[in-house]
């Protein structure tokens, strides 16, 4: 434990006591080249043997029927249809051969754009899910990632409301069949098994446009920042990094994103904070309140009957 154990910049694997940490690994998801093919969702489901989850069925929300990250969706591709984009232009640089709804005239304002983004657990530097876990099921790996141990978790569900990004979820028992890990918290492991063998996470391997990149967090951060600068130069003023700042509310994330609009457009919080930053104050208040209760009880003894 260091003075930044609850808040501020930190090397999470070292803080967790790993002596020979191989360097922090993470994702950079560059949404400017995402084509919404959902290969990542499928590859993740297949590799991790995640049960099917139709959620709300056909939602009518663009091409998105998985709707959110959850126990059975560890990669989630968001589809946003914008008819009056706040940013003046969609990314022009990469021609992916997608059918275009835009006039060929490059100067004309697009009337419609599609934002697609593959969301995932952020593997926070200060992971609230891990902080609050009372069994030690959630742990910090040598790669600085955050992983649930299925055989330890008792399904208390505390991690679920603790996560500021709404990622982790307790898996429900599907009626009538034996669901794997039912009642247990589930989320992305950053393919702990695969990366331990030097392989790429399943989603990164399946992504045909390299929208999902895996690697050293420091290197990915730099790559992302460079790409933002490039995009900005090309006039994509909405381009920005998300999660790359070690001074942000969660101490930066292991899974970073290059977004083309505000985070909340994609369903992400604009300024997330790890709840345990405030825990020392909460304990102090609870101590004061307990003392007050005891004092009140003593006072109540004064007087008759």
């Amino acid at each position: 434990m260091s003075s930044h154990s609850l808040f501020g910049p930190l090397d999470p694997a070292v803080d967790a006591g790993w002596e020979q940490a191989p360097g922090r690994k993470g994702f950079l998801t560059d949404t400017s080249v995402c084509i919404g093919c959902k290969a990542c969702e499928v590859a993740c489901k297949e590799w991790n043997a995640i049960p099917s989850d139709l959620g709300d069925g056909i939602t009518g929300e663009s091409y998105d029927n998985t709707s959110a990250l959850g126990a059975n969706t560890w990669r989630h591709v968001a589809f946003v249809e914008q008819s009056t984009p706040p940013a003046p232009a969609a990314p022009p640089a990469v021609d992916l051969g997608m059918p275009t709804l835009r006039a060929p005239d490059a100067d004309a304002k697009p009337e419609f754009r599609w934002l697609m983004s593959s969301d995932v657990c952020k593997h926070c530097t200060h992971a609230a899910c891990l902080d609050v876990c009372p069994t030690g099921s959630l742990f910090r790996t040598e790669f600085g990632t955050v992983v649930v141990q299925d055989d330890i978790c008792n399904g208390c569900g505390y991690c679920v409301p603790a996560c500021p990004y709404g990622v982790i979820e307790r898996r429900a028992e599907a009626p009538g069949d034996k669901t794997k890990n039912a009642g247990i918290a589930q989320k992305c492991t950053l393919c702990y098994d695969r990366i331990s063998d030097g392989d790429l996470p399943a989603c990164a391997k399946a992504c045909p446009t390299e929208s999902i990149m895996f690697g050293d967090v420091d290197e990915l951060r730099e790559r992302g920042q460079q790409r933002v600068a490039e995009l900005q130069e090309q006039g994509v003023t909405g381009a920005r990094m998300y999660g790359d700042d070690p001074h942000d509310g969660v101490g930066g994330t292991g899974a970073m994103f290059l977004l083309l609009d505000e985070p909340e457009v994609y369903g992400m919080p604009p300024d997330p904070v790890v709840t345990t930053r405030d825990l020392p104050r909460m304990w102090k208040r609870a101590g004061l309140a307990a003392a007050g209760l005891a004092a009140g009880a003593a006072l109540s003894l004064l007087g008759g009957s």
Partner: protein, 334 residues
């Protein structure tokens, strides 16, 4: 009514997830408070020679903490793995700390209550018990009661940290004052139980504790609602709003009942009436405490389901140029 803030979301879907907790957890918040404060009341009553109030409060504390433990285990996704909570000691996890508190508090309460129960048995029945057992209880019952009274206040207030230490907007926004609300609510409940179970001539401390609890809770709630920000709305709406309004009605009625019971008991031949009033208002006060816990629970759940309560305050911080950063002090200090 605060004007609706404009904000963007992904098809109106939640940003944070609501807890998977069902009625077990608010019930746990209630019984934990009832138990913790009852142990305090029992110790005080015992020390001042109010033996019936002491006995009833000790037995009540045991029943309440028994129920608490049941709710806690019942709520788990894998109840068979309950004991996995005993494999770590983690100060950053209020649930871990709570488990250890219960592990200390439960046996102390059990001993104290067993001592009372055995003491209340007819002498003939008591003789049937092995004498080692009765002698062991004789030796440990009293110190255990003091131990329970020492840990009890923590049992009653740590639950505020339990729900406050989440990204659930209402709970987190309320976390600075919630321990005081819960302390007051615990006193209300324990006082109510004492009034319900104990003859008026002995239950003076229970009445005073209940009234003190009601006042403390109302003051703390007023402080809380003023400092919460946007999510305060969830305390007024839907199920939470109904429950919290009901809690206010019940605790006000209960409070008036307490005063009346005291007054009636001083009248000649007022004993029966006073006892009835005491029991009814005691029940109302316990119900008020339960309503407060369920109300705050549901307000939190609602705040997690609506992305407004997560996005709007964060967006406002960012737009004002004050995002949360570890290398800058926020405006207005810590």
């Amino acid at each position: 009514m605060v004007p609706e803030a404009e904000f963007t979301s992904y098809y109106g879907r939640p940003v944070v997830k609501e807890s998977p907790w069902q009625a077990d957890i608010p019930a746990y918040l209630f019984t934990g408070g009832l138990a913790g404060a009852s142990s305090l009341l029992a110790a005080g009553a015992g020390a001042t020679g109010r033996s019936t109030l002491a006995r009833n409060s000790r037995v009540g504390a045991l029943a309440a903490i028994g129920a608490s433990t049941f709710f806690l285990i019942h709520d788990l996704g894998k109840p068979s793995r309950f004991l996995n909570m005993m494999r770590v000691f983690r100060p950053t996890s209020p649930m871990s700390m709570g488990t250890w508190l219960l592990a200390a508090y439960g046996p102390l309460t059990g001993l104290a209550a067993a001592h009372e129960i055995v003491g209340a048995l007819p002498v003939g029945t008591r003789k049937v018990l092995p004498s080692v057992f009765t002698r062991a209880l004789q030796a440990t019952g009293r110190p255990a009661g003091w131990g329970a009274a020492l840990v009890g206040p923590a049992v009653a207030t740590y639950t505020a940290v339990l729900i406050g230490d989440t990204a659930t907007p209402t709970w987190h926004d309320a976390s600075g004052q919630l321990p005081f609300v819960f302390a007051g609510s615990a006193a209300t409940a324990a006082g109510g139980l004492g009034m319900l179970t104990t003859p008026v001539p002995q239950s003076g401390p229970a009445r005073r504790m209940a009234v003190g609890g009601v006042i403390a809770e109302q003051l703390a709630q007023a402080w809380m609602t003023r400092s919460m920000g946007l999510s305060v709305q969830t305390l007024h709406e839907d199920r939470a709003g109904t429950l919290l309004r009901l809690a206010t009605v019940l605790s006000t009625a209960g409070g008036i009942g307490v005063v009346l019971a005291g007054a009636v008991s001083r009248k000649p031949r007022g004993a029966t009436g006073a006892q009835l009033l005491s029991a009814v208002s005691g029940t109302a006060l316990m119900a008020a405490s339960a309503c407060t816990r369920f109300g705050i629970f549901h307000a939190g759940q609602a705040s997690a389901r609506d992305p407004r309560y997560t996005v709007v305050p964060q967006r406002e911080r960012v737009d004002a140029g004050h995002p949360v950063r570890s290398d800058r002090t926020p405006p207005g200090g810590g």
